[in-house]
């Protein structure tokens, strides 16, 4: 049987969604509370890793996961670079905060472009940690012969 025992599968199915939402919360509230892109991204990646461990994977799934995670990782990096470059071309300085006084401090809508950077970093870190996991796990397929 693929994956782990039914107990693990059922628990993973229940918990996985909550872990994902918690990760998103950590990313989105990164400018207000401890956390941010890196911590939240790691939690999101943990959700995917949990489901992969619990349900098991085949070689073809490993391959498609490695391709899609590398594309997401690059997209996250490009988004972050784009936010920094927008600062350069709109605000005149690399990494400048484009609308620092928008919203009320301490609320979700505040801190200008920092939340957007957090989202980009969150995508990048989640995809990167997942792809590290996939690469480490898929060595068993590469060298099976």
């Amino acid at each position: 049987m693929k994956g782990m025992t039914p107990i693990v599968k059922v628990v993973a199915r229940i918990v996985g969604g909550f872990i994902f939402i918690y990760g998103c919360y950590i990313v989105l509230y990164g400018h207000l509370s401890p956390g941010g892109g890196f911590a939240g991204g790691a939690i999101i990646a943990a959700c995917f890793i949990l489901s992969r461990l619990a349900f098991g994977t085949t070689a073809s799934q490993e391959k498609s996961a490695s391709i899609s995670s590398s594309i997401f990782e690059s997209t996250g990096g490009l988004l972050f670079l784009l936010i920094a470059l927008l600062g350069l071309f709109v605000g005149g300085y690399f990494f400048i905060n484009l609308f620092p006084s928008f919203g009320t401090p301490g609320r979700l809508v505040s801190a200008g472009s920092i939340p957007f950077s957090n989202i980009a970093i969150g995508i990048k870190v989640a995809a990167a940690i997942l792809s590290i996991f996939v690469v480490l796990a898929s060595t068993k397929y590469i060298f099976k012969e």
Partner: protein
């Protein structure tokens, strides 16, 4: 010109992130994107290297935070000189790699790592912030570990692991030193640290931190007591990467960072703290002597060149240790000439491996010069330049180092430097003798593809042109860069004057 420092980071970084997406659509897109990025970087650095006004560096403030608060890029003439050296070799290695990487799979990953390594080196050269420098050192180092192990054969993986262990010990030493410096000065900006250091008591802890930093950078530069990883790591990489690692990587992460911290941040000079400079002198001399003697006994084409790199790095550090104007100009000229020359030699090794598939020079029967005339010509001219024969650029760099030594009254180092130039020629001609000269060649070997020949011949042309126009290069390129080092802590005043206004 104001935004050039940002573009020099953003263009290769954007390329590195674009390649994994585009290369899934069409393999060759990876090469095209990388080529465009590298051409843009080359153009920007040539402009910066010749048109930046001396004594008036570009200070780029990230997010418009004034100097001691935010991260600032500080591009003075020394930085722009190093940028030029890096981008020339990176560009020509890339041209060589277009055909050479046919032997390998995963060219998308290769060019991603290649561009990331360029980002790291450019960042180290341009940054004016100590922790930022560490981050860029790590970006460059991690990509270079991956590139050394790129072939994924057992030897290459082992070399990569060994290189990684040594490189990470060095990085952690640097990080520990940064932690101590931050604890003592509460700042990370190089100019601000320099001001704090000037007002500080020179306690044993102060020198302990300097020793930590110097050990870290010495491991990165592979000076002799710390050199054991280099002869394994550099030959294991694909040839264009060997050229980059030996040609610019150890100079940027080792020598440049060391020189910047010693001269501009600590502000030591030969007159005020001779002990520091004597240590550099001894390290340099040991590297020259021991690595040259070891190189004489090597049988592997690329391993011999790797030992030669250690001994040539020894020349540069020796010149830093002498520390007068002539020697510093010699050191910078040697950075340029050795990066072009040793890059060229590693590229010829790639050309030979591409056609023959063999690196052990005892298995060659000679006579390859008849079948691969351009490779042979490039190797011989490059070897003459690295050894320091006129009229190439390598001659003038060694000449200035020796002149500096004589002028400062160090007769023994001058004699050793002159003598071991001949030893250098000896071990480099060993390859000429075994591989290229002679009548009978290996059957059925052709010259390498055109782009590989083009990359090698361009570097030869640059070496010859550098020798011919050396006395034009000296006032326009080398003298302003050496002045940055000679002026010492005036660096901090200039950076504050330009950057503190916001």
């Amino acid at each position: 010109m104001e935004i050039f420092p940002v573009l020099l980071i953003a263009i290769p970084l954007g390329g590195a992130f674009l390649i994994p997406i585009l290369y899934k659509a069409w393999n060759r897109l990876a090469e095209i994107v990388a080529g465009l990025c590298l051409a843009a970087v080359l153009a920007l650095s040539i402009y910066l290297a010749f048109f930046l006004v001396p004594g008036k560096p570009l200070v780029y403030l990230f997010g418009n935070w004034p100097v001691p608060l935010g991260i600032a890029f500080t591009v003075d003439r020394l930085s722009s000189f190093m940028l030029l050296v890096v981008s020339i070799l990176v560009f020509f290695s890339y041209i060589f790699a277009i055909r050479y990487m046919d032997h390998f799979t995963g060219s998308g990953k290769f060019y991603t790592l290649y561009l990331l390594m360029l980002v790291g080196m450019n960042g180290v050269v341009m940054t004016g912030d100590l922790f930022n420098m560490f981050v860029f050192i790590e970006i460059a180092s991690i990509s270079s570990y991956a590139l050394v192990a790129f072939g994924t054969e057992a030897e290459e993986l082992e070399a990569g692991f060994k290189y990684m262990v040594m490189g990470e010990i060095a990085s952690m030493m640097i990080l520990l030193a940064i932690a101590f410096i931050y604890a003592a000065t509460s700042t990370l900006n190089l100019a601000d640290i320099s001001r704090s250091f000037a007002a500080m008591d020179k306690t044993p802890g102060f020198w302990f931190v300097l020793i930590l930093l110097m050990s870290g950078f010495s491991i990165k530069a592979a000076l002799v007591p710390f050199h054991s990883w280099l002869p394994d790591a550099h030959p294991s990489a694909p040839a264009p990467i060997s050229a980059l690692l030996s040609g610019v990587f150890i100079k940027v992460l080792g020598v440049y960072a060391m020189a910047r911290i010693l001269f501009n941040v600590y502000g030591v000079s030969r007159a005020s703290y001779p002990a520091v400079f004597n240590a550099l002198l001894i390290l340099g001399l040991a590297s020259i002597i021991i690595a040259s003697l070891l190189a004489l006994y090597q049988k592997d084409y690329k391993r011999l060149l790797a030992y030669s790199s250690i001994s040539q790095i020894g020349y540069i550090v020796l010149a830093l240790g002498i520390g007068n104007e002539f020697a510093l100009i010699g050191a910078l000229a040697h950075i340029l000439s050795h990066s072009l020359g040793k890059g060229l030699l590693f590229l010829t090794s790639g050309s030979v491996v591409y056609r023959v598939g063999e690196r052990d020079i005892t298995k060659f029967t000679g006579g390859l010069g008849k079948q691969m005339p351009w490779t042979s010509l490039s190797y011989n001219l490059g070897a003459l330049s690295v050894a320091g024969m006129p009229p190439f650029l390598g001659f003038f760099s060694k000449l200035f180092i020796i002149l500096g030594a004589v002028k400062a009254g160090f007769i023994v180092p001058a004699v050793v430097a002159g003598l071991f130039a001949v030893v250098t020629l000896g071990y480099l001609l060993k390859i000429t003798n075994k591989v290229f000269w002679g009548k009978e060649g290996i059957k059925g070997i052709k010259e390498s593809p055109f782009v590989m020949v083009f990359a090698m011949v361009s570097l030869v042309v640059l070496l010859v042109a550098g020798g011919a126009f050396f006395f034009w290069l000296k006032p326009h390129l080398l003298q302003p860069a050496a002045d940055v080092l000679l002026k010492g802590t005036e660096y901090a005043e200039i950076v504050f004057r330009i950057g503190a206004g916001g």
